[in-house]
């Protein structure tokens, strides 16, 4: 693979230039202090406290190491090694990547870019705004943010989420009031424009769907420049009783990107959440997803795909926490790995005492297309209730010769058969997207990326 891909995890880090982890931590503490001294966007007291708690937690815990079970397969050495500076506030060059989005909020380096956004025609009951504007605006809006931001399901031990919180100043806030319906998807585009130096931004998304609301939201990470950068994103989703929410998360960063993200969801009674984490880019990525089914009868679909080639590395740690009875969760994670890429999946399912009649299924299928590519898969079931159904299964390996022969016996050339089977691995996941327009758009991307039965590099900048 060409381009400025991040250092491989197995490379000896720091042979020429040693950055001690403690110094790297200090770098971000200093950035925080400068940010706080600068007024931090003239934040209200509760937000200043939230940030202070975030940096304190980060400074206390420091960067994770591969000696920690949760980080066994993913070294954060590249994050320590690069001296990332705060991403510039100015908007980067060029238009923002688009698949014909009509409703869109665009953020550049985590900051809202109203001139690139389009929010006309939002249906009644759908309130959308930038965090910075809401905080500065009417007291009702600020109170809403205060009630939800960082209050939900963000685990205390997630140091990167804590670091994001330390710098939280802007971001997307989407509030669907009771019964509101957003028929067309709302796109939230987080674009990075590092401006020539390795830079870090901390994008934030808060989505709150009140009772019986229904929406599809697309969370899309792209870049406006080819330069190393670090995206440290946090998304919080609150799904109220009977609400039905779909979140399509498209991580389409450049190969020079380090992408750290966490998604935290909490669901109420009889709610439905479909979460589709799709990894199409970034040289190095880590995504922690925690889902709490916090009301009886909640239903979760966690349906993700990672396409990795070259030296790409992607690590998913997911937690599905059945805290109430009669919940259903289906987790499908497919990986297609080529080149010397590495995919890591750790899927933990917790069934709390009293979460009776939980029905949980988890699969992680990895298609490994080259000798050097590697996949790791670890299911973890923790079941504390007795009347539950939990199944899990993982596979990894090359294309099945039986499948290849079957397709050949129907007239397809071996290369056509390989391409079709590889495409099917991704198509199986996209098939579960509810919105047909999104599904079709992503299907085109999938075909392009898996043409000829191999994972090709992310497309050049749009």
């Amino acid at each position: 693979m060409t381009g400025c891909g991040p250092r491989r995890r197995s490379d000896p880090v720091g042979t020429e230039r040693v950055t001690r982890p403690v110094d790297a931590v200090q770098r971000y503490v200093a950035q925080y202090e400068a940010f706080a001294a600068n007024g931090g966007g003239a934040a209200p007291a509760w937000l200043r406290e939230l940030r202070a708690a975030g940096i304190a937690r980060f400074a206390d815990a420091g960067f994770p190491t591969t000696r920690q079970e949760e980080w066994r397969f993913t070294s954060v050495a590249p994050l320590i090694e690069h001296a990332f500076v705060p991403a510039p506030a100015g908007a980067g060059p060029g238009p923002v990547a688009a698949r014909g989005e009509t409703l869109r909020m665009v953020f550049v380096n985590g900051k809202f870019a109203p001139d690139r956004s389009s929010l006309t025609g939002l249906p009644a009951g759908v309130r959308v705004g930038s965090l910075a504007a809401l905080l500065a605006g009417a007291s009702g809006a600020a109170a809403f943010v205060e009630r939800h931001l960082g209050r939900g399901a963000v685990p205390a031990d997630n140091v990167f989420a804590a670091l994001n919180t330390a710098f939280v100043a802007d971001g997307a806030v989407i509030h669907l009031t009771r019964g509101a319906v957003l028929a067309e998807p709302l796109h939230v585009i987080f674009a990075s424009a590092p401006g020539g130096t390795p830079a870090v931004s901390h994008p934030r998304l808060l989505l709150v769907a009140d009772e019986q609301a229904r929406a599809t939201v697309v969370e899309h990470y792209v870049a406006l420049e080819d330069a190393p950068y670090w995206t440290n994103a946090v998304t919080e989703v609150v799904v109220g009783d009977g609400a039905d929410v779909e979140v399509v998360r498209i991580q389409e960063e450049r190969l020079g990107a380090y992408h750290v993200a966490s998604t935290h969801t909490r669901q109420g009674r009889d709610s439905a959440l479909r979460l589709h984490p799709l990894v199409l880019g970034a040289g190095w990525a880590r995504h922690d997803i925690t889902n709490v089914l916090d009301g009886p009868g909640a239903e979760l679909l966690l349906n993700g795909l990672y396409l990795l080639g070259g030296r790409q590395h992607a690590d998913h740690h997911t937690v599905i926490d059945h805290a109430q009875p009669d919940g259903r969760s289906h987790e499908f994670m497919n990986g297609v790995l080529d080149g010397s890429a590495r995919g890591v999946f750790n899927g933990r399912i917790i069934v709390r005492p009293g979460a009776q009649r939980t029905d949980s299924k988890q699969t992680n299928h990895n298609l490994v297309l080259s000798e050097e590519a590697r996949a790791d898969s670890q299911p973890q079931l923790e079941i504390y209730a007795d009347d539950v159904k939990c199944t899990h299964g993982a596979t990894l390996g090359p294309l099945d010769p039986k499948e290849l022969f079957y397709l050949q016996s129907r007239g397809l050339a071996p290369e056509e058969a390989r391409a079709l089977l590889t495409y099917g691995f991704g198509a199986e996941i996209l098939e579960r997207l509810r919105h047909p327009g999104l599904r079709e758009g992503l299907d085109g991307t999938l075909r392009a990326r898996l043409a000829a039965g191999h994972v090709t590099e992310p497309a050049p900048l749009h």
């Binding site: 299928h365 079957y406 050949q408 129907r410 099917g424």
Partner: protein, 258 residues
């Protein structure tokens, strides 16, 4: 007179084949003409399925001797996909599931590969749907399986029905049905076998590989051959199948051993 009428569809001469170094077929001779239905019967392990797989070109089976001519050409020279495009079709005993690919998409890909080979224009999705509707009707089937991934989660009957639908769409010259009756209850068998019978034409030929006679109640064979230890040890008309049903295979083996 057309060449098809002069040349046998399939001529197998002294065919030897082995898998993982073990010889399974030990000198098969068989000629199938257009318009004919041949049943290949025999006990488990006699080599029936091996013969079917060798005809389709499965790479795990090595042909160690003899020849197969198909429409006058050397079949063994052709890759599996070339055989398919030339009109050879194997209905699998265990159809394979293909994740993420819908039946309709798969069928169109396969049909277009065959059409391209024949110099016919490829069909776009709408043209294909028209053809599919017609084919479904021709075998008394519906489109309930079309938007599901190929064979994924299909019942045994659905899988076999799906094989026959592929056969209807691809219009092979030579169809080989490998234990299509296995795992089917009597209703599913009637449906599937009835569909095969509807696809019989004077210019195509069918080889029915089966352990049991019952499928032959619906697809009447012109010839019945009994395979034992890798050779055809007995051939006859359709009444031979009934005799095998009544008497089992032991007496054939006993006679063959003499």
């Amino acid at each position: 007179m057309t060449p098809a009428a002069r040349t046998p569809m399939l001529e197998i001469s002294d065919l030897h084949a082995s898998v993982e170094g073990k010889e399974i077929l030990r000198g098969i001779d068989l000629t199938v003409n257009a318009g004919e239905v041949h049943a290949i019967m025999g006990p488990n392990g006699s080599g029936k399925s091996t013969l079917a797989q060798v005809l389709a070109g499965h790479p795990a089976y090595a042909v160690t001797g003899g020849s197969i001519r198909y429409q006058g050409k050397d079949l063994l020279e052709l890759d599996p996909e070339e055989r398919a495009r030339e009109g050879v079709f194997l209905a699998f005993q265990y159809p394979v599931a293909i994740r993420g690919i819908t039946n309709a998409y798969f069928l169109r890909s396969a049909l277009n590969a065959v059409r391209k080979h024949r110099g016919q224009p490829e069909l776009d999705p709408l043209e294909f749907l028209d053809l599919l509707a017609e084919k479904l009707k021709s075998i008394d089937s519906d489109d309930g399986l079309m938007n599901r991934p190929v064979n994924d989660g299909f019942s045994g009957g659905e899988k076999k029905r799906n094989e026959i639908l592929q056969m209807a769409v691809l219009e092979p010259r030579l169809a080989i049905l490998d234990e299509t009756d296995s795992g089917l209850d009597i209703d599913a068998l009637r449906t599937v076998a009835g569909a095969v019978d509807k696809l019989r034409r004077p210019d195509n030929a069918t080889v029915v590989v089966t352990h049991y006679q019952r499928i032959l109640n619906y697809i009447t064979p012109d010839f019945v051959h009994v395979l034992s230890a890798g050779r055809i040890v007995l051939s006859g008309g359709k009444e031979l199948a009934l005799e095998l049903e009544a008497r089992g295979y032991d007496w054939v083996r006993a006679e063959a051993a003499v």
